[in-house]
């Protein structure tokens, strides 16, 4: 099938799939970001068991393949009488894995903060949480805009996991499988999805560098 054939026949579905991919990406990234910040605070807090738990979390979810995690969520959890919808399973998988990477980025962002600033914060009488909230996290975030931009793109690509379960509405990759089982879209069906992924990634990248230039800390 040609591009124009595919678009005339599946155009609406492509748009719906693109919106689905965007929605999954936005929800996953927002949740991964919040979770990543939380895990990072655990990893630097004064209580050792919490630090160990934070490190363990990151090791687990940084190293587990997305497909394996999704299979566990969809097929293993029901044995524990925990049943989520396909969409929720996908969202959990595409949140947990990026959250580990988010935490790794934040840890490296923290390393850009001169230790003297931490001493100054302590000398001024700030508590641990005040220091984290006002000094550490803001600087870590502002120095990791570009890696976070990459993470957002990676999160979007990870949402293609949704194609592995019968989730409705379908995401961009899921739609390609659908088209190719109902007609012979061939590589062209993939190419359209790929172009949409690429366009989104370019948009994200552009926005990311814009933000980075605006918030980068002068040193």
């Amino acid at each position: 099938m040609s591009v124009s054939n595919l678009l005339s026949q599946y155009g609406d579905r492509y748009i719906q799939a693109l919106l689905t991919t965007w929605k999954l990406t936005a929800f996953s990234f927002a949740a991964a970001f919040a979770l990543g910040v939380l895990i990072t605070i655990l990893r630097v807090c004064p209580i050792k068991p919490l630090r160990i738990a934070g490190d363990f979390y990151v090791q687990v979810f940084r190293n587990i393949p997305g497909a394996a995690l999704l299979i566990l969520l969809v097929y293993a959890l029901p044995y524990l009488k925990i049943i989520f919808s396909y969409e929720v399973c996908v969202l959990i998988a595409t949140t947990l894995i990026p959250s580990a990477f988010c935490s790794e980025h934040l840890m490296s962002g923290m390393n850009t903060i001169a230790p003297g600033q931490i001493e100054a914060a302590r000398a001024l009488g700030l508590t641990f949480f005040q220091m984290i909230r006002r000094i550490v996290i803001p600087q870590a975030l502002r120095s990791t805009v570009l890696p976070m931009t990459n993470l957002l793109v990676a999160t979007m690509l990870t949402t293609s996991l949704a194609s592995q379960v019968p989730m409705r509405p379908m995401d961009l990759t899921g739609l390609v499988s659908y088209i190719n089982t109902h007609a012979t879209g061939g590589v062209t069906a993939f190419a359209i999805s790929a172009a949409l992924y690429c366009a989104t990634a370019l948009l994200i990248g552009f926005t990311g560098s814009l933000i980075d230039r605006k918030v980068r800390i002068l040193r």
Partner: protein, 248 residues
């Protein structure tokens, strides 16, 4: 015998870095309004001593009292006692992501719970006093070293501290900027601020100190008024030190 409670008191403080015994049975009192200068060769433990006062360095044994209250090793009580003691560092340590003004208002608002508006007014007054009010809206990297250090002094003052610790405040500065910082410190001293200063600026020490403490090898070797120390040092180590300093 002075019966008043010292603002800062150290009792028999000992500290090791691994096998190195960096503070040996240090006892020290700083009274209200006093300017105490700690001198000594590199590695004598003077910086470490300064940093142990607000527990930026842990200690192995001994006691640290602020206004007669023992300083705990951690927790909220430690934070609230630290807030009473200002600190000025060699490398300024201003918060890089904030304007100078926000550097000054952060702790008064978050720690002392002073209103934002009041904190800003007070901050501007202090920046005026140290001569960097025109830099208030800039971030630290846009200021010279001397301006940053004066802003850092203003940040310490914004907490209305009982005393201020100075840990080699001019050692990272170009010569022409040293005097602008020392001038601010001199004016603080004449206003009656309690200060514990580690420095290599001998003329400054002689001019502002009420008392000089000479340290070597982790011990307080000599403690006297500045004239006596500079003219008639009692110990041989202090004589060697002063000769080395004055020989060029």
């Amino acid at each position: 015998m002075n019966m008043e409670t010292p603002v800062i008191e150290l009792r028999h403080v000992d500290k090791h870095f691994g096998l190195l015994h960096v503070l040996k049975d240090i006892s020290l009192k700083v009274y209200r309004g006093e300017v105490v200068v700690i001198l000594g060769p590199s590695g004598s433990g003077k910086s470490t001593l300064c940093r142990t006062v607000n527990r930026l360095e842990t200690i192995d044994s001994g006691e640290i009292l602020i206004d007669g209250e023992p300083m705990p090793a951690e927790g909220r009580k430690l934070a609230s006692l630290r807030a009473k003691i200002g600190m000025v560092f060699q490398s300024f340590n201003l918060f890089a992501h904030m304007t100078i003004l926000d550097n000054l208002t952060l702790a008064p608002v978050d720690v002392l719970r002073i209103g934002k508006k009041e904190a800003r007014m007070e901050a501007m007054r202090l920046l005026e006093r140290v001569g960097v009010a025109d830099q208030a809206r800039k971030v630290p990297a846009q200021l010279s070293g001397g301006q940053q250090q004066r802003a850092a002094i203003a940040r310490a003052l914004a907490m209305r501290p009982e005393a201020i610790l100075f840990d080699e405040p001019t050692s990272a500065l170009d010569p022409e900027m040293i005097s602008e910082v020392l001038n601010v410190m001199t004016s603080l001293a004449s206003d009656g601020m309690t200060m514990l200063i580690v420095t290599h600026e001998m003329n400054f020490a002689r001019k502002v100190a009420d008392r000089v403490i000479f340290m070597d090898d982790g011990m307080i070797v000599e403690e006297s008024d500045p004239e006596a120390f500079f003219l008639h040092p009692q110990s041989e180590r202090a004589r060697d030190f002063l000769n080395a300093v004055h020989s060029h």
